[in-house]
Symmetry: D2
Subunit: 280 residues, 4 copies
């Protein structure tokens, strides 16, 4: 008898919590933790429930299907212990990849790393060490299309549920973005919307900022404009050079990315238009 | 048709959310925001609901009374716009008092300051400026008992719901602590449980810490041991003297205290044994 | 026998510290605290010295004049206890003004508020309470020029050394910016360079950020582009509305602004091209 | 022609900076960065200088020896590029070890890991992956003495300059503490002086704190009482269990430890009685 995570979004209206909690109670379930949020602007209602004691998830699923038809729910029901099948993409820098693999290995990040894809060979030993299947798919202007086909093939073959861009220095095509909509997380090494695009630390240094940051967001075809999941910042001083920004920023990047991935994997992140609801 | 805040605690059991949301739905209410937490150790369940559209709060009150009897609820239903009748106590230092009065005056802190009590005259002009009734009740070893009587008299006369110790340098008797249990908030100028008692900044400086903090907690007869509501910290360096700690710590103190008071006033803080649940 | 603060900037070259510390030692001075920074990109060297025991500042001043001629120093020597003559500008919102006046009054901010200028009457009582001379100078498209003349007149008459824009909602002309170059500090209610211009909290909310911030910077004719002195940030969540951003952001604004003003007043901020060196 | 780091402490007195900068200038050196701090309580003066362009370090060394005799300097002169020969000790948990090895490998931490010593075999593969020589030295009550002999033998044989206790769960004897005084850094998983000793996260949870922390300090025979190098904190909520504290605390531990190790290795940490001066 598994613990379950239910997430849902729907137009706001009276009676949602009552209907949903009724379905759970009828299935013998007990609510361990629950959070709701009704957006007063978009009038969308969002909810996450962590329940235990449900005798038969199938019965609950049927009740929820009935409720969903009435209340127009987008909903998902998942075992709380489910490890999200994750494909991580990287280039040459390993700080984010190393961190994600370590956490997955230690069991503090509920993901199953089914593949590591990189456009260079550099990180193969790291993936090997953690027994994560490594695929080097080089990308040049000529091979970009075939490289993406190979990637989509892997996603399909491995039943990938989540793609994480762990400082992957290539831009994914709209086709891949669409195919995995809401399921690709990128880490951008700036406090967005400041310093989009290339070399954000150098941009930040040139502007003389006193704080640098990192942003984890869902990838959309619009570069660095996708819904933000998590951000964090760190102080810098006049004495820090661009390489110092890079070195210190790595700490923030991996922290922000691992939180975003954990929250996504624990189904704590719900899309709310162009923004996210994070039930942390 | 007012917005309402419902808070409740009870033994954990299936069906709580369903029963409560049912009562709200039956009264025509719509849940704007809701948070729950079931403590896996103490098996107490805690909930806060912000609802709108309830036609008749009295009807809801009756339904909740029935639910409470069945589920053994401690509960409270309050208008969301209610300003908590607050008595603030201080001594000579005005940074916390000034901050609370300013916020109350600006409307960002939902309290009504019905009295300011101090054991010195120093802060009278500040209270006057914000039109807060000021009472100077000096405290000496001889007058401590009569001073407390005067305080309890004021609390009674003014229907005081919350007492805030805004750097009040006297210790309240067990009698007052008991009389206002769970309704006295103190700011202690250290990151508890480090540096209890007197002169915490000097203690922190002597220990060579790199971070100082402040703690807002409910007052219990056990000095500096009450349930913690909020804490925050700030970095210091070797170059900071004790007076520097004091000056920089004031920022943290007033920030922490005002958050704790706001959360309490918005009914976001629930007691959970010796700790608090904060639905922020 | 006063303590002194010496600040200087010059082209980087060997022997600067030796020459400067020699002048101080020759005048009987002892260095209490000193910081240096040589920018490896611009090749400018910056230094701040806090010295005690100088018998005759005039003798030191003469030695430094000789050193300055050789090493091409921009330098300034000031009594450590000097209170900077400050004119604060505001509009209707008082959180920054209230904070600065409180700190100046308590003695934790080494400024002497010689005037408060606002384009509305709203904040007059606050200024009055702290005995700060208040001048209401309304600004309309027609009166902008004469308003600025009045301002410049005040600056001149009161020997103003520093102008602080404490949420002043008007844009100063290039003329004023030039006249007080490096001596006007503004607080912008965003984490620059994100969300320049009007209504930054609304912009931030629309973008779905998870952290908001504030930036204190020197004012230049280029709006929100001046050298940054200090920044800080605070976490927000999906449940926070634009008014919540505004209310919580006020805390950050006043904290950042008061730090920037304190550092400027303590001569800890040196201009380094388009950025600042902050010897905190 | 190497860059050099000079650090020194001495009784405070006029002329120190002048004498030291004179020695550097006479050796052709240019000061890139320099920081001083005179403790007004202990009357000790501390200084760190980063210099370039010194033609002959031996000449500088001779000048400094002369200055040291006059001013009673404790001083050290080191190549700026020197990698500190470091022995890391751990038990079964690898988050700190993994982080240090990764950073050393990437070149963002100026240490040379000459040995990893653990009282269990668990972490051998991790050390192997980074080519760090791994020594398993089990510790029981019976073998504690011989284990320490083995450790001291390794320290000697490998010319170890720094020992890092990266969540090593054994207590070192006074003998080892004395032998490596000021050269053993420990990470304690609480915000000291709160929650000394065993199971600090469980202690913190029981107290209901809202923030947890970690502390890196030099090891002295007095457990968890050594001079603090660095601390940091992270927010927790009522919904976090002890295992959640542990998991989230790991992030803070490794961040704090790596900073402390980096600052020590860069000679930024000077002992000042029972506290530290950190020129960061």
């Amino acid at each position: 008898m598994d613990e379950l995570i239910l997430t849902l979004s729907c137009p706001d209206q009276p009676g949602i919590v009552h209907a949903v909690s009724g379905a759970i109670a009828a299935a013998g379930g007990n609510i361990l933790e629950s959070q709701q949020y009704g957006d007063p602007v978009s009038h969308r209602f969002h909810m996450r429930v962590h329940a235990a004691g449900v005798n038969d998830p199938e019965v609950l699923r049927q009740s929820l299907t009935r409720v969903a038809a009435i209340l127009d729910l987008d909903w998902n029901l998942e075992s709380a212990g489910h490890k999200v099948r994750t494909l991580i993409m990287a280039s040459k820098e390993g700080h984010c990849l190393s961190d994600l693999l370590y956490r997955a290995h230690e069991g503090t990040l509920p993901i199953d790393v089914v593949a590591v894809v990189a456009n260079h060979e550099t990180l193969r030993p790291l993936a090997d060490f953690y027994n994560a299947p490594f695929y080097c798919i080089p990308v040049t202007q000529q091979t970009k299309d075939s490289a993406e086909e190979e990637l989509l093939g892997l996603i399909d073959e491995k039943d990938v549920e989540l793609v994480v861009l762990a400082r992957y220095m290539q831009i994914l095509s709209d086709k891949v973005c669409e195919a995995m909509k809401g399921r690709i997380i990128n880490i951008h090494h700036s406090f967005l919307p400041s310093f989009k695009g290339a070399r954000p630390y150098a941009q930040a240094h040139a502007r003389g900022v006193k704080i640098i940051g990192a942003t984890a967001h869902y990838v959309t075809p619009d570069l660095d404009e996708g819904p933000i999941i998590e951000q964090d910042t760190i102080r810098v001083t006049h004495a820090d050079s661009v390489p110092d920004f890079v070195a210190q920023g790595q700490d923030v990047e991996r922290r922000v990315l691992s939180r975003a991935v954990r929250w996504h994997a624990e189904r704590r992140v719900l899309l709310n238009g162009h923004a996210t609801v994070v039930f942390d």
